[in-house]
Amino acid sequence: MRLTPSTRRRCACAWSAALVAIAGSRAQAQTPAQTTPDQPDRALIQQLQKRVDELEQQVKDLQAQAAEERQAAERAAEAPAQPPEGMRDMLTPLGLGGLQIRGFNDIDFHAYRDNGQVNTFSLGQLDLFLSSRLASDFSTIGEVVFEADENNGFGVDVERLLLQYSPNDWFSLGVGRFHTAIGFYNTAYHHGNWFQTATGRPFIFRFEDNGGILPVHGVGVTVQGQIPSGAAGLHYVAEIANGRRSGSPGDEPVQNVEDENAHKALNFALITRPTRVLGLQAGISVYRDRLEPADRPAIDETIAAVHFVYQIPVFEQLAEAIFIRHVPSDTDRATTTTTFYTQTSRQLGRYRPYFRYEYLDAPPGPVFGNDLGRSYGPTIGVRFDAAPPVAIKVEYVRLTGSIRAQTNGLTVQFGFTF
């Protein structure tokens, strides 16, 4: 058994006292002529013997106390929900406990520039993020979103639900519903707008039910981890999922319980995060699926993405390009959608001005439901962190193209976490 130095010192003192007492009693027992101890000596020996017993008991108590302390610390390290007195989980003050629940929300005001849209206040997504460590290598995360639609009625979506098994840094397995590892933004930011620098996602990463053209959610299996690569800091992600529904544009795009075809979507990403440069990341990903629109030939879909990101607390530079290639099975004529965005921001105290430029060029086709055509333009804004959990963002968007009516104008957002 291992004892702390202070406990060791106390034990040593106890044993020293015991040894001195025994030595003393023997010395007294071997007094002149080695005679049988008389009555007072016997009483003294008994007294010393009693003292030795007491000291032995104290040593046992100290050892038991040290063992208990060690077990408590080990238990606390494994089960953060029940730490011993004087210790707590780092995120406890922010509200995270055993089943950890964290909320995100935002309240917006939109002043649209183009005709056909009226200025309006709107409630953003009420996002409840759940996480729990189930066992040493098992954990679960979930994201439940309450969101109003264009008819002002609220609906509930389970946006993420994942059981994770992480036995080491090189292999982590997740099963459930997750954000597809296409590019950078989709897995770096999820439904809580508070985390994002801008008021919303780049339009290429919009969610499926908000006009997005990427399969940003998948239901299936995801595996990821580090690749032993020294300073290169390589990581991989491999996913197999149901893919997106393409039978009819009105269908729920994420196939939560039933796939429309036997073909599964595959995605593989390779990412480098050089260990010497904090915040630098670059990567590529390739996604493959087979779509089956109603009354049309099947389409082979390939989505290639490349990204370069430098993100440290005081500065961020994001740049991503994505190419979506569709090849109908009855012809060799392929169509390619090209899109990219770049975003720069700089922290100046509690303010963070930012600039984003987006570009999308989508040929007409049956997959996206409507003809998106070409859209491009800048977004400029500033984020003000009024308090650590509260961010106020003011943003102006000026896009050219078919999707401008949905976005152009001024947005003021009050985002917070609780």
């Binding site: 291992r2 702390t4 130095p5 302390e69 060690r70 408590a72 610390a73 080990e74 606390a76 390290a77 953060p80 730490p83 004087g86 210790m87 707590r88 989980d89 780092m90 995120l91 406890t92 922010l94 995270l96 950890q100 964290r102 993020f129 996480s131 460590r133 040493s136 954990s139 995360i141 993420r160 994942l162 994770q164 992480s166 080491n168 840094d169 997740g174 997750f178 897995t187 770096a188 999820h190 809580g192 985390f195 995060r273 260990t275 010497r276 904090l278 440290i312 607390p313 650590p388 976490t417």
Partner: protein
Amino acid sequence: MSERCRAGAAPIAGLILSIGAACAAAASAGQATARPPLDSPHSSLAIIVNTQNTIDELPLDGLRRILLGETTRWPDGRRITVAMRDTGQAERNAVLRLVCSMSDQDFTRYLLQATFRGTLQTSPKILDTPNGVRRFVFNVPGAIGYVRGDEVDGSVKMLRITGTLSEKRAFGLTLPIK
């Protein structure tokens, strides 16, 4: 100048010199208390691990990856548990600044986002005192923490931090790098 004036000026000059010397001495004494030598134990940070840990040294970027939750296991497969002091402590601010180049608020937000992404399963443990950090590291074989140099005792093992820089300093504390 008359003899009388010269006689009066001498003590005044002496007084000025003595005041100047006293001020200089006080200033140097003040400097000594405000800015201890960089190699003094109480001004340096020590990264500590359990004595059973086979690691003796750690590169600076490796330490950063541990604090940020990117590396979660020791080479022997044991899970890493990070022990930290509470918000506002000079040691904590110094470690975050020197190792992670982050403020406390940046670090908290980073952990929250990593949890949100699903990449962080366990957040650091917070302990109120240096003794608490030491005892936690002593008791948990996979633990890593930090204390001031003069707070290290035989119950824990101090890691040697290696890197490209010779020494880093913040908030009056240094992180000696070999």
